[in-house]
């Protein structure tokens, strides 16, 4: 289980996933280089969320979902193996889910929920400092600093989305999977998150699902394009944006199909 230096990335090999008897991903192979941003693009329902959920093993929380073949390696370790420590995997590979959800507790406790579990309880001052800096980084601090102890269920969707990013960051993951993290954000908050992603890149590997082509162009190093559960296009930002071979991908990227 010791990570070796040059296998420090995520490697997906011939992955097959089905919900019940309906296949969703077939033979998906992809590699996500360390400390880079990979944008995952594709029309709705093509399996983007499913792919992310395989990588931190939250897919298995859906009873009818099954991985029917293939392997996923994170830092050289086969994470689909039954002996994998799922909880530490999920700490190491954090996910920001497509549907932002507040836990029934205060804003402060929401941010601290996973961190406290993995890193233990802290002195109040230290905890408040960490919460403040996390909320600052996701651009939520000014909006909620006076009501950290009030219930998080009254936040707006856009605020929740940023709260969920802070909650995942609090776990201090090595990889972050983001599923349409800016879908409910205004341009200003979106810019804050994009800046955050650029900062995080120094230490963290990022996979981001987005429907915003311009955003993918701005922030990603690599692009993976899925169509109907298969890889249609994969490469660097410039390769895919500039010279996609698949005509449907080209139409999608130019905004004629979406």
């Amino acid at each position: 289980m010791t990570p070796t230096a040059n296998t420090s990335w995520i490697q997906v090999e011939s992955l097959d996933v089905a919900y019940g008897n309906a296949p969703v991903l077939h033979q998906v192979s992809a590699s996500f280089p360390e400390r880079q941003v990979t944008a995952i693009l594709g029309p709705s329902g093509c399996g983007k969320s499913t792919l992310l959920r395989v990588i931190n093993r939250t897919l298995e929380l859906t009873p009818e979902a099954r991985v029917t073949g293939g392997q996923v390696h994170v830092k050289g370790r086969n994470i689909l193996h039954p002996s994998e420590d799922i909880r530490s995997l999920r700490k190491q590979v954090g996910i920001v889910q497509q549907r932002p959800l507040a836990f029934p507790m205060s804003i402060q406790e929401n941010v601290d929920f996973g961190r406290r579990h993995h890193h233990g309880r802290l002195q109040r001052k230290e905890r408040d400092r960490i919460t403040a800096s996390l909320l600052e980084r996701v651009g939520l601090w000014d909006e909620v600093k006076h009501r950290l102890d009030s219930s998080a269920t009254r936040l707006s969707i856009g605020q929740l989305q940023r709260l969920c990013i802070a909650r995942t960051l609090a776990n201090d993951p090595d990889v972050i999977l983001m599923d349409e993290p800016c879908s409910a954000l205004d341009p200003e908050s979106t810019a804050t998150i994009e800046t955050l992603i650029q900062e995080l890149k120094a230490t963290v590997t990022i996979l981001i699902v987005t429907h915003n082509i311009a955003q993918a162009r701005r922030i990603s190093d690599q692009i993976l394009f899925l169509l109907d559960g298969t890889v249609a296009e994969a490469g660097t930002n410039a390769e895919v944006m500039g010279a996609a071979r698949n005509p449907r991908v080209r139409r999608f990227l130019s905004g004629e199909e979406g």
């Binding site: 931190n56 999920r90 700490k91 836990f103 029934p104 579990h117």
Partner: protein
């Protein structure tokens, strides 16, 4: 319709309101002169029996609820569901009989007394009777909450215990409270099993192992031998009205809790 029932039952009480209801300490001795209609022993009996049954059925029922909602493998859940339905469908009189030939008999054999009826036996059997209602109501409440939060919480890598304690329990609390209230209402109004198992003795019970006469048992025993319109008759109907009020209040509480539960889910 509720008003109708209340009025009709209350009509007979309204003819001559009885103050005896408040005489908690007086004995129940309708044949004495002057007759005395203290219902204290019946309320204490009802309270003891209901308390025992809730103490047993609430933890077990909520445990079964958690099991059905989250832990049971699908195949097991498919067995559990009809098993609980079967339990809920067994008539009260059969439960009474069953309790009579098991718990009551065991206690008689063990204590050497000729018969073994006790408030405890009634409470235990009552617990089995309300168990399926508590279990299925709490399973329903827990299932919705689990569905919503399972992935969001476990995705952060916390344990299932943490998910349960810090999120599910809090979110499902109104639903669980409704399950308990439902059990309470059923236990309070249940008659046949209590009548057959409690010993039906009109004296103040000394403890869970003594015989007693919960309110419903008193009603069932005495009504048949009461002249319509007599003071005793009015007394019985006054007691019935109080029981009705208690159960209706519990029902209102259940409705309010359920509404709160679903409102909270959506905010």
């Amino acid at each position: 319709m509720v008003l109708f029932l209340l009025k009709e039952t209350g009509l007979f009480q309204g003819l001559l309101p009885t103050r005896d209801l408040l005489q908690v300490a007086a004995p129940w001795s309708p044949l004495a002169t002057p007759p005395s209609f203290g219902l204290g022993h019946a309320w204490v009996g009802s309270f003891l029996v209901t308390g025992i049954s809730l103490a047993l059925a609430v933890p077990l029922g909520i445990g079964i609820g958690i099991f059905a909602a989250e832990i049971a493998p699908p195949a097991v859940a498919r067995i559990l569901q009809p098993a609980l339905e079967l339990l809920a469908g067994i008539p009260a009189v059969v439960y009474g009989f069953f309790g009579y030939v098991t718990f009551v008999k065991w206690y008689a054999d063990w204590s050497g007394q000729p018969t073994g009826e006790s408030l405890l036996a009634a409470g235990v059997v009552l617990a089995i009777m309300i168990l399926p209602f508590i279990a299925s109501t709490s399973a329903e409440a827990l299932r919705t909450v689990y569905q919503d939060y399972r992935e969001a919480a476990l995705g952060l890598g916390v344990t299932e215990g943490c998910l349960f304690r810090r999120i599910v329990l809090i979110k499902a609390l109104p639903g669980l409270a409704a399950a308990v209230a439902l059990g309470l209402a059923r236990a309070l109004g249940e008659t046949l099993a209590v009548l057959m198992l409690s010993g039906n003795t009109a004296a103040m019970p000394e403890g869970p192992l003594s015989r007693g006469q919960p309110l419903t048992a008193l009603l069932a025993t005495e009504l048949g031998e009461t002249a319509a319109g007599s003071p005793k008759y009015r007394m019985l109907f006054s007691a019935a009205c109080l029981l009705l009020l208690a159960v209706l209040a519990l029902n209102m509480g259940i409705l309010a809790l359920k509404r709160r539960f679903f409102e909270h889910l959506h905010d």
